[in-house]
Structure formats: structure tokens, C-alpha cells
Symmetry: D2
């Protein structure tokens, strides 16, 4: 198969670096363009980026000349799709323009998540939401992934929906990488906890309900349970930990709750589960009494690429289920989510080599 | 006034050191005896202790010879009361024996907190609970303070009781000093969160309901609301932060909730509020959007000795009140709580110079 | 005595905040003006500053309206002297202009430290260098303090000069506060060491030799020994630790080296030692085997305002003396140093109430 | 080839875990026995160990029953060699006994490093030292690897020996994993530096001179230059960083020094360089201005198993060469070093399948 030509917009930031790492040697996608700020533009990627994700820069990316994120230039690169790691204010109009030009846009930005015809797609959870793009008024389309902490939460909630959810209380311990390359000063967070992250609680509260909502013809009916989020930053590099308390409609046993997490039948079929970025099972239930822990459990063994959500300490009291959940915020919660979305869209015929070039 | 002669049991540990710091130059109490493990016994306190609390060792304590915690020896020291910072397994039988000998025991240990006639006393919250000691079968008596994280929680709950509490969800970010001098290895907690603290959730759940319970003749009727706690250790030195969500019996406005925290009328009368270890107002409500923070807000100004609980980010949605709360775990949550209890007992005539010596 | 009216230039940054804290209730100086960036200008100090130093903002500073650092405006404030916490590039021309206007300038910036007639003054070490200002071509004058890590080093070297110094090797462990409010990203320094600080090694190498140099008529003859510095950032909030190895001209005993540090006769006379910001003894020699430690020893007891340099682990092998040294980088190494310089200048008649106003 | 049967003594500690990780799927060695403390004995390894090194426990080790480190039992296991991660006090007599029984012992413990016939072997540096074991009075033999911080230092010194070394000044930034599983309390090291590690400076000073010494018939003549070490613990998980200043006998250019580090011809021949645990080049010279950094550079790319020492910031002034060096303390400085020694010994005919069994 000829690989599809892809661009990464905002390739020098934290999430942009993860995109480059995941796409540097991808079986379906060929890294063709990288954009960055005016400061980076004109330099080779290896010189422009302050690379901080694990392992060195993929060879295929090192010598790509970074350009500014101008729509006309991007349009002319003969790309089959783009990934967007842009800041939300820039992402909004630019992604719209690119979709109008006919480009499929897989975006980690929050700008279009509220658009009624734009899905917040997580293939294991709401694969049918991809159908929304058929209702978009673009020559191309826009698919978003969720905010990083939301991406963990919904994996904990989806299996419990089987029993009906009345209410969700979630409190987070979020890593500094979620704030970007220079987002949190060491003076602020060392030996400290900051109980505030701008807009984060609101995002968790409505995004999770859209993601878990029902497709009704050409729109999504958000879930009707309430979500109450309290978000804090902790001195951890990578990995958002969440303490989640869910009120179900009926009582269940601890064993039943554990089994739900272990054996839930997720939304990917047998072939989709072998998509390059899809984990065999998106949840890993840990039985140790003090797990999951961010520094230890983000990548659990050699097969773990950071796309599995870890759950532990499941406690049930009547109809109330409590647990801790860990999500890799820049992979499952950002770049990895977006790449999986593109793989899923490709498997479903929404991406073709000719789509852009013709 | 002649100062009362006091002993500190378990004086070399974290909480023991805070007792020594608070009692080294106390207007009512004279530090007369210090006990420690067999390893410390026979050495001057300044040589036996691995001092880590702020500021240097009080001069009055430096040259006291540490002895083992044997009941006979303690009885013979002519003490008017003792403070106990012992581990719970040792504290149980030893405190009983000392109380039988006629000594008033102010204990930070958990051993006797469940005893029906032993109060978990917090003078601002349940001053009337001190009356329980009249029903104890000891020549002396035992008064306990609560577990460190509980001590913060109840300050957040007490004002809200005005509106009736239906349910409490609390998630904690607890400091390593809560685990004692060598309780948490750097390898475990650096850049990490550990979502488990042994017995902590259970303690928060029942202790808070006993503390907020009603005195009924000679016993306490625990509050009837449910508390669901999820506890985690974070890489912070001192200060437990708690994310608290309370379901009230009725809806209130955000302003009403803020006012409750600001203007609540606590249990200490005008003279008691001037007890040496009592803060003028036990709650400090912070208005900044990202406070309280453990490293910044534990001691807020020069008058702040760490006995004030800080509350911030009050959010109200219908009858659900959410907020973050910060408590100094080794002061308000341990040694300071116990010293305040003794001051309060003295003010109420439960301690006299003659009580032990006669 | 009428207090002198002082301004702090660059009052919202890390060092600026320490200036405000030290001057908020100073016996000689009255805080009259605060300048900041255009972003801060026009707002009350308490609203403009992101206050992070310990304790709350002094009342005397809270309501001062921050203005931009424009020379004309500063000149018109009827100030008797200014303290400068400006970035070096702005400080250079602005301080020159203010000195030309007749203002005494006490600067923490590096801009003028190399000027032959501008002293890098540390009253305990080179009090005679203040005489340099008589050779400046300004109506006012400029006095600088040294770079933060240099300020520690020279306290370790000065006593050893008694025996002649041949060579100095210094390796540092520097705190993040030295890089300013947002100088070090948590992503970079958490659980890490960064073995590079821009220009720092060079500063330590030449500044220390100027400070320890001899006044020769109207200029300074730098010391002739070599200094080799290797500087690194560590995940510490405040306090620069330095490992120092000094080759002396002759062998000495460990005891002699210890005595030098303990009993050295510093440059302040009996009255000067009582200047508000001067410590009784600028060195505290610690005897514990594992001290000094940044988090524990920066302020040692209630009298310790952070102006004492701590030294420990003195080891002597022939003529080679090794030790660790700790300096409070934003106090002894910045704002405190500058305030002490002003107090010293006042005591020596270089500052008068009339100097500016007449 | 039939794999040799190996045992790991002290398999549950930090270094023991690294041994198990390296030997769990080794081409030459089969993990046959694991010993631990009396607390671990009798349990399966996966239950006995508190596993903290990266990735999960190798399958081949999970079900091995841990036994106590009793010499008779070890002798009867039909082992071809043992690796020792025992504490030094236990290691001393036990290793001697096992060597007397005829077992080859590859030890990370310090107990026998000073024995004149026991090499501190680093194949890339002093391969000829392995010849020492022919002079040991054991049926088996003992080979040690160096202390963790020494193992880094000598890689920095060996190339410079070409120009003659007069003196070495080294200051360290050492990770907490070097102190063992519970060696450093979070309360002590969080946001702090501890300028003392017991016996560490002494070990660096004499071990490095033995390692770089000349074989003279049946003994080693230590190098004659002086080493002055100052050691400190920093809040880093893994990786010792060292600031090294070397006085050479003659001046060299910066370029010459860089080339030495880049192109030095190490002691392994072409076939030995392909030993499973040997890196292709034991030094990686980094050109970035702020490297090496412990958290980022310990394992540089997918081929990097932690056995390469990283060097950066090479600065030359006359005959004085300064640089920073990073070594993976539990791999190159401990378990990895020992495994490489065994591979090297096997390649040189010192280990055979029959040696123990016959």
C-alpha cells in the first residue's frame, strides 16, 4: 500500500513531538510536512525542536524544514490528511479552512469539539460517531479527540453505562506535560499541588457526556448524567491519575464491577483491534493494592505503547463504584488518540490516497 | 501560675518533634520528660533525635535524657499530663495503664479513638465531647485528636451541617510527613502519586462522623451521613490537600456557602479563643482562583502557626458544594491539635497541678 | 530619623519581591515607588504581582501603584535612592541615566559589575571598595552586588586568603529561583539535573576575583588565583549549594581551616554589625556530617534571615581544602545583599536625605 | 550452546532486580536460583519482590522460589556461576566460601574489591586485570565490578591517561536508587541536596586508581595521580552525574580532548564488542550545550541499554580538562557491569559448563 502523505501542524510542542514520534515510522502514514511557529519556520525540524519526549527524533523527521502554519501553503503540499496539535485559538479558523479545502483534519485542539457535526471520536467507545462527518459542510472533514483527562474518564465510565450512570464525581492529579512545554514553572509545582487548571473541569464535564452520547440521525444526544470534576496539577511528568466515584442506577457487586472492567466488549472489531495504534485491550485492571501509579504504570510492559488506560482500587458500596484510573495524557489523551482516529477512519474508507490529490 | 509538668511519649518521631517544638516554650506547660525507642534511650534529646521540623530544637528540650516508654517510669516522673505520639500498637495498652495510674493522656495515636467514652476532641467543633471523660473508668483520662486528614475534613463539614449533609465525597492529596520520618521512600514517591494509604479512607469515614456526632448523655451518636474517601500520597513535604464534594439537604447559593466558611461561629468562646494554640479563626477562606496550595499556604502570615485550615475554590451547583481544603497534617492534624486539647481541658478544669501529685 | 524614600525597579519578579519584603518595614528606608513591566503598570502592587516569596505581601506595599521603569518618572519621585532588580539589558542604560540624574543606585543587575569604578560590594568582605564610587562620573552613583552563586563562594574564600590561594575549583547545585519567576520549566528540572546555566561559570570566575581584589588608588586589582567553575541547576526551590576545592600556598591542618571559618574577623566593625540586614556572623559552620542542605539550612533559627552563609564538611589534605557551602540565592545572593549595601553606604555617609531632594 | 546455570544472590533489592531483568532472557545464562532475606525466602519471586525497575518481571523469574543465602544450599544447586548483589557485610564471608566451593562469583559488593588478587574489572578499560584470578587461592574465583560512581569516572579518565593525569577533582550529583530500595526518605531529599554519602568519596578515590592501574605480574600497581571526590545525593531517580576536572601533564586543545572521547580505542576486540551486554561504543559524547541530563540521557535511543556513559560540556583551559559525565548507576554501575564481566570471562575461557558440575 502506498502510504498516505500526512502533515503535523504545531509539530514542535509537546503533543506535536508525540505526533512526530508516532508517525516517524508508521505503516500507513508518511510524514511529509511539519509546521511550527514563525520562530521555528525555515529550520530543519531537528534544529527547531526542543525534543523532550522519550527516545531520539525519528530519522524521517529530522531534516524536514519546518514551515509556518499558513493554509495556502499547507493546501499545496499534496497532503492526504493533517494532524493538528495547534493551540485552540489558531486551530479554530485554520482547521475550518483546511477542511473547506478538502483536507481531512484530525485535531487534538479543543476549537471544534462543540461543533454539532464534529465528533469527539474514540474508536473503542463511540465508533459510530464517525458517521457525523458525513453531515459536515466541508469538502474534507474534521475529527477531534477529547481533552486529555476526559480521554481517561470515559474509559472508566463506558463499561459502567451497562448498569446506568446517575452521577459522576471525578478528582484529578494531572501531570505537568499536560500544560505544554513551558506550561508549569518549577517554582510553582515543586513539592506542591495546584488545585486549578483553566477550563479543565468544564471540559471533562461536557466532553464526557458528548462522547458517551447516542447518535440520533445526524447529531449526538449527550448522556444525561451529571459530571462534577475537580482538577489539580501535581508534580508528575506524564500521566493523569483520576479518582472517580460513580453512582449507578442499581447496586452491583465488587466482582461484577471488576469483571466489567476486565471483560468489557469494546467498540473495535477483530480487524480494527489490530490497527497499529490500537491496544489489544484498552483497559488494564491492576490488582495490586496501591496502583495505578503515574511513574510506574504508564507503560506497563514492552507491548504497552501508552494507549491502555489503567484502573485499580475498585471499591463498591451499594450502587456507588469508586476507583482510580491512569491515562497517558500526551498519548491516549492526545497524539495517540488522534493517530488511532486516522487509522480508524482509513479502515472505514474515509481516507484515500486520491481524496486530496484528485 | 505554676506550669504543669508534661511528658511527650514518642518524642523523636515526626509528630513527637512537633510536640517538642510547641511545648519547648509554652506558657502553661513545662517539658519535663521525653520518651523514645530503646535506641534513643539514655541519650540527650538533641543527640537522640534526627530533627527535621523547621527551626532548631528548643533549648529547654536539648538536654533532657530520653527514656524508654515504660509505664512505671513514666508514673514516677511526677507529671501532670502526658502527650502521646506513640505508634498505635504501643499506645493502646500503655495509654490505658497511664490513665489507670491517674494521668491525663492527650493522644495522637489511633488506638483509643473508637472507645465509646473517649472523645476525638476538636475544641472549635465538638467542645461538649470533652464531657465524655467523666464517664471513663480511669483515675486519669484519655483524650484523642483525630487522624490528620480527618482533622481537615471536619472543619469543612461543620459549617455545612447548618444546611444538613446527605453525603460527602472526599479525595486527598497527602504529604509524605504524614507517613512518619522514614515512611515514604524517595524511589516510590518522586514524580509520582501513590493512590493508597493504609487504613486512611476508613479512618476518615468513621472518625468524621463521630467528631460531628451528638452527645447523648454518656455517649456519642455519630452523624448519619455517608462519607466516601479516596486517599493518595503526593510528593509534598507537609500539608494535606483535600477535594471535597458535599451533598446538602437543600440548595444554597455560592455566596451563602462562602459566608458560612467566612463567618461561621465556632465552638470556642471569647476567652478560649485566646488559648495559646488556638487560632483566631480556624478557617481562612482564600479568594485566589488557584489556592490553597500546600507549599505556599500552610502558614500564611506571621501569625499563622499552622492551626488554620485553608479553604478555596468553593463551587456550588444546586445542593452540591465542592471545594478544596488544606490542613497542616503534623500541626492541626496531630501535635497542635493535641496541645490545644490540653489547653482546652485546662481551661475547663480537667487539669490541675494537684491532680497527679496528690 | 526620617526614613529615606526608596524605589524598587523591577519589583514584581523574584528578586523584586524579596526587595519589597525586606523594605516593607525597614527602619531606615521607606518604600515609595515600585516599577514593573508595561503589563503590571497602572495596577496596585498586590494585584500586579504573582507573590511567591514566603509570608504575605507587606501592607506598606500592597496599594502602591506600579509604574513603568521610565527614567523621567523615576527622577520625579523625589527618591533618595533606588534598588534595581531589573534584567541586565534594561538595567544597563537605565541605571546609568538615574545615576547621572543624581540618584544612588543599588543594583542586583549584572550590567555595571565590570565597570572599573563600580564596586561589587560585600561589606563584610571588601568594605573599602565602596570608596570606588568617589571616582564615578555621576551626580549619583552605582553600587552593585555580585551574582548569586559568587556571593556564596567569596565568603568561603575570603578567610582562606590568609594562607594564600593558588586555585579554586567550584561545582554548583543551584536552585530554580535563581532563574526567575518562570525561568525553569517543571518538565525540564523535575527529577533531573541540568549541567548548564548561561554565563554563570564565567561570572563566578571573574566576579570573585574582583571582589577579593585590592583597592589601588582609584581602581581594583583583581586577585590573581584561577577560578574554575562548573554550574548546574538542581530541583531545589531556594539555596545554592557549592562544592569548593581550594589549593592553598601552604599546608594547613583541618583544625586551622575550621577555626578560620569559625573565627574569621570580617570587615564590619562593631556598629556596622548591627545594621538591620547584617548577620552577627556571616558564616555558620555546621558540624553535622551531612550538612549544609538547601531545604533545611537556609534559615537556621529565628534570628536567621537568610544572610548567613553555611559551611560544612570541611576536609583538608595537605594544602588542599574542600568544603560544601550554602548561600540563600535571592537574599544573600541578591536583594538582601543590595539592602545591606545601602545600609552600609548610609552608615558611611554616602546617603543622605538631602542628597536627592536638594 | 547449553546455557550456563546462574544464581543471583540478593535478588529482591534494587541491583538484584536489575540482575534479574538482564538475565531473565539472556543468550548465555539461564536464571536458576534466586536468594533473598529470610523474609522473602520460601515465596515465589514475583510475590517476594517489590519490583520497581522498568518493565515487568521476566517470566522466567516469576515462579522461582526465593531461598536464603546459605552457602551449602547454593553449592548444591548445580550452578555454573553466581552474581552477588548482597550487602557488603554479608557478601564478604559468603563470597569467599562460594569461591572456595569452586564457584565463579561476579560480585557487585564492595567486600573483596581491595583484595590484591581480586580484580575490579571493566572489560573496556582494564581487560588484562582478569588475569588476576589465576592467582586467587580458590577453586572458583571472585571478580568484582566497581562502585557505581567510580564506574562512570574511570570512563572519563581512561582516554585522558594518554596525556598523563596529574590530579582529578570530581563532584557528584547521585541518584537515590544508588542507596537501595528504601535508602533515602522522601522527607530528606525532596527539593533538597544532601552533601554526604557514606564511604563514597573514599571509594571513588582508591577504586579508580586500582582500575586504571598496571598489571605487574600477579598484582596491580595503582595509578599514581590523586583523586579528590565530593559526593552528594540529589532528588533524581536513576543516573549519577559527575562534574570532573582533570589536570593533565601537558596542554591539549579542546578539539583533541573531544576527539579522545569520541574515538578512543577501548579494550574490547571486535568479537568482544558484540557480547550481549557490551555497547558498541562505551562513551557517547553529546554536543548540546546543556547535556548530559540524568532524566533525559540515561538511555538515549532504542539501542541504548544503559551501558553507555554520556559525556558533555567538555571545556579545556591549558592542561585542565573539565566535563560533565553521566552513568546509569544500577546498570553500568552495578548489575550490567557484572553481567558484562561474566560474558567477558566466558569469552576468555574462564567459565565452562563443566567447571562446577564435574
Amino acid at each position: 500500500m502506498d502510504k498516505l502523505r500526512v502533515g503535523v501542524l504545531g509539530a514542535t510542542g509537546m503533543v506535536g513531538q508525540q505526533f512526530v514520534r508516532l508517525l516517524g515510522d508508521h505503516p500507513y502514514f508518511h510524514l511529509a510536512s511539519l509546521t511550527g511557529s514563525s520562530r521555528s519556520a525555515g529550520r530543519e525540524y531537528s534544529a527547531a525542536v526542543d525534543w523532550v519526549v522519550s527516545r531520539s527524533i525519528p530519522k524521517s523527521a529530522r531534516n524536514i524544514i519546518v514551515t509556518e502554519s499558513t493554509p495556502g501553503w499547507i493546501r499545496d503540499q499534496n497532503l492526504d490528511l493533517v494532524f493538528s496539535a495547534l493551540p485552540s485559538d489558531i486551530a479554530g479558523p485554520l482547521e475550518t479552512t483546511l477542511a473547506q479545502y478538502g483536507l481531512p483534519v484530525f485535531s487534538n485542539a479543543g476549537a471544534h469539539r462543540r461543533d454539532p457535526h464534529v465528533p469527539i471520536l474514540i474508536p473503542e467507545i463511540n465508533p459510530e460517531h464517525i458517521g457525523l462527518i458525513e453531515h459536515q459542510d466541508y469538502a474534507g472533514f474534521i475529527v477531534t479527540n477529547s481533552n486529555c483527562s476526559t480521554s481517561g474518564l470515559v474509559f472508566g465510565l463506558k463499561p459502567l453505562l451497562t448498569f446506568g450512570i446517575e452521577q459522576v464525581i471525578v478528582t484529578t492529579y494531572q501531570a505537568v506535560s499536560g500544560a505544554g512545554r513551558h506550561g508549569v514553572s518549577s517554582l510553582d509545582i515543586s513539592g506542591n499541588v495546584i488545585p486549578y487548571i483553566e477550563n479543565e473541569e468544564e471540559k471533562m464535564e461536557w466532553e464526557s457526556r458528548k462522547i458517551l452520547g447516542q447518535m440520533r440521525e445526524n447529531k449526538i444526544l449527550s448522556s444525561d448524567f451529571e459530571v462534577h470534576a475537580s482538577c489539580a496539577r501535581v508534580p508528575v511528568i506524564d500521566g493523569h491519575l483520576e479518582s472517580i466515584v460513580v453512582d449507578l442506577r442499581e447496586s452491583i457487586s465488587t466482582e461484577a464491577a471488576m469483571n466489567l472492567f476486565k471483560e468489557y466488549s469494546w467498540g473495535l472489531n477483530t480487524s480494527e483491534i489490530n490497527l497499529p495504534t490500537a491496544p489489544q485491550n484498552p483497559i488494564l485492571l491492576l490488582s495490586e493494592k496501591d496502583r495505578p501509579q503515574p511513574r510506574r504504570d504508564l507503560t506497563y510492559d514492552l507491548d504497552d505503547l501508552g494507549m491502555r488506560v489503567k484502573i485499580g482500587r475498585v471499591r463498591v458500596r451499594g450502587s456507588k463504584v469508586s476507583f482510580f484510573l491512569l491515562v497517558h495524557n500526551t498519548l491516549r489523551g492526545a497524539a495517540g488518540a488522534s493517530v488511532l482516529n486516522a487509522e480508524f477512519a482509513l479502515a472505514h474508507g474515509y481516507l484515500t490516497k486520491s481524496e486530496v490529490e484528485s
